[in-house]
Amino acid sequence: MKLLELLGYFNYWVFAIILTVGLYAVIRKTNLIKKLIGLSIFQSAVFLMYITMDKVEGGTAPIIQAGVENQIFSNPLPQVLILTAIVVGVSTLALGLAIVVRINESYGTIEEREILDAD
């Protein structure tokens, strides 16, 4: 029972680990594309946290079935926030990648150190 109670936090622990793994890539890697990959891992971790919060014990996806009484539904609100955030995430990621491509054309490299040396 105690163990199961602790495992109820497992999703949040995974969130913490993925978040910091993404952050590690952002602060430590010098390759700009790797940094963006790290940023999108970081972003996914936040999505996981929101979706974890929407779950209700014994619940189901919030699509109401006709003729079924006393159904429990998970919370639709975090789902809506994350749904739109995913699509916005890919658009902003593409913007970042476009800037990286232009940096590569101007400097011939996407390693942060070499770009700083070139300036």
């Binding site: 495992l7 109820g8 497992f10 999703n11 949040y12 969130f15 913490a16 680990i17 993925i18 978040l19 910091t20 602060i27 890697k29 010098t30 390759n31 790797k34 990959i37 999108s40 891992i41 996914s44 999505f47 979706i51 929407d54 779950k55 209700v56 014990e57 619940g59 189901t60 996806a61 919030p62 699509i63 109401i64 079935q65 539904f73 998970s74 919370n75 639709p76 609100l77 975090p78 789902q79 809506v80 749904l83 739109t84 995913i86 699509v87 916005v88 658009s91 902003t92 990621l93 593409a94 913007l95 990648l97 476009a98 800037i99 491509v101 232009r102 590569n104 101007s106 996407i110 150190r113």
Partner: protein, 326 residues
């Protein structure tokens, strides 16, 4: 049983994330990112978020990977290792991870029905959706009507990002000797991907249309449909070459979709105001408020689908066109 499966998936997710950061080959990292997204989608599905899982699978595993790959083709796929500073970074993120894990013990445990997040407006949405909208998918109802302002904002963010990418990549590269290379022929000379892909494309687009127009009744809606249809067209471009895909859906049509979709959404809001309601209050669109809501949601979902599909495809073509120049 599903609980054990969830633990397994979450563990895989952590391993994949570590592998992505560890590898020095960016191509491998991007492929692992695709797997990461797929695992994430499975997790979302287990956590009852069917709509989000659909979006993550189409956008994360599909479109994001293609955009990353087309950027990699322009920059090179080897990452140079960095010396020094490793321990400081490890200690920083390690301490942060422990702090966050310590903080999670104050959070309500997974699935707790008494958690504060479930007490506020969510029950009201669940209760009122059938009455106000007359259709069962509460996520679509909240997305397109109750919180239509948010969604309008998000569509404009996608629109702005698309315009930004087109501006940044639309400029000609600095080196002058660049004659456009031979048009890439895609996978035209590979028989098996060609046959299988050609079979798949129409069904992917059909499924996208189903998701678009069935979004009120099942998981789906404009965001997912836009991403799925974009994936279908990108697959066509990979099979037949980019020029062929542009002949099927020209750039001007894509731009028209982005601008038209965003305008359609906004103008529905303005029409609501002209007809005496509040901005984006669809109830006034028809004599029966429920019909008005359904009509409004149908139109704005179509706008969202057009804008998202057009934006993702414009971004893809912007990267691909750059590729054939350099």
């Amino acid at each position: 049983m599903i609980f054990v499966f969830a633990l397994f998936l979450l563990t895989l997710l952590v391993i994949t994330a570590l592998a992505i950061v560890h590898t020095e080959n960016l191509f491998v990292a991007v492929m692992l990112t695709s797997i990461f997204s797929l695992l994430m989608a499975a997790n979302f599905f287990i956590l009852d978020a069917a709509d989000v899982a659909l979006t993550e699978a189409a956008v994360g595993a599909g479109v994001t990977t293609v955009i990353f790959l087309s950027a990699l083709a322009l920059t090179g796929e080897r990452e140079k290792p960095r010396v020094g500073g490793r321990n400081i970074a490890l200690v920083t993120v390690g301490v942060l991870a422990l702090l966050i894990i310590y903080a999670t013990f104050d959070k309500p445990r997974l699935g707790d029905p008494n958690a504060p997040v479930h007490q506020h407006v969510a029950p009201w949405y669940l209760e009122k959706t059938p009455e106000y909208m007359g259709f069962p998918n509460v996520v679509t109802a909240v997305l397109s009507s109750f919180r239509g302002y948010d969604t309008l904002g998000e569509v404009f963010v996608v629109f702005a990002a698309c315009i930004g990418v087109l501006f940044i990549l639309g400029v000609r590269p600095p080196r002058e000797s660049l004659e456009p290379r031979d048009e890439s022929s895609g996978l035209r000379h590979h028989l098996i991907p060609q046959v299988v892909g050609r079979l798949l494309v129409p069904f992917i687009v059909l499924f996208g249309l189903y998701v678009q127009f069935h979004g009120e009744y099942g998981p789906g809606g404009g965001f997912q449909a836009g991403a799925i249809i974009a994936t279908g067209v990108i697959l066509y471009a990979l099979l037949e070459g980019e020029a062929e895909a542009l002949r099927a859906v020209p750039r001007s049509v894509l731009l028209g979709m982005v601008i038209g979709g965003a305008m359609l959404f906004g103008s529905v809001g303005v029409v609501c105001m002209l007809m005496g309601g509040a901005f984006l209050d669809y109830s006034v669109l028809a004599a029966d408020p429920v019909w008005g809501q359904q009509l409004g949601i149908l139109i704005i979902e179509a706008g969202v689908g057009m804008a998202v599909c057009g934006a993702l495809l414009s971004i893809f073509h912007a990267f691909a066109a750059r590729e054939s120049l350099s």
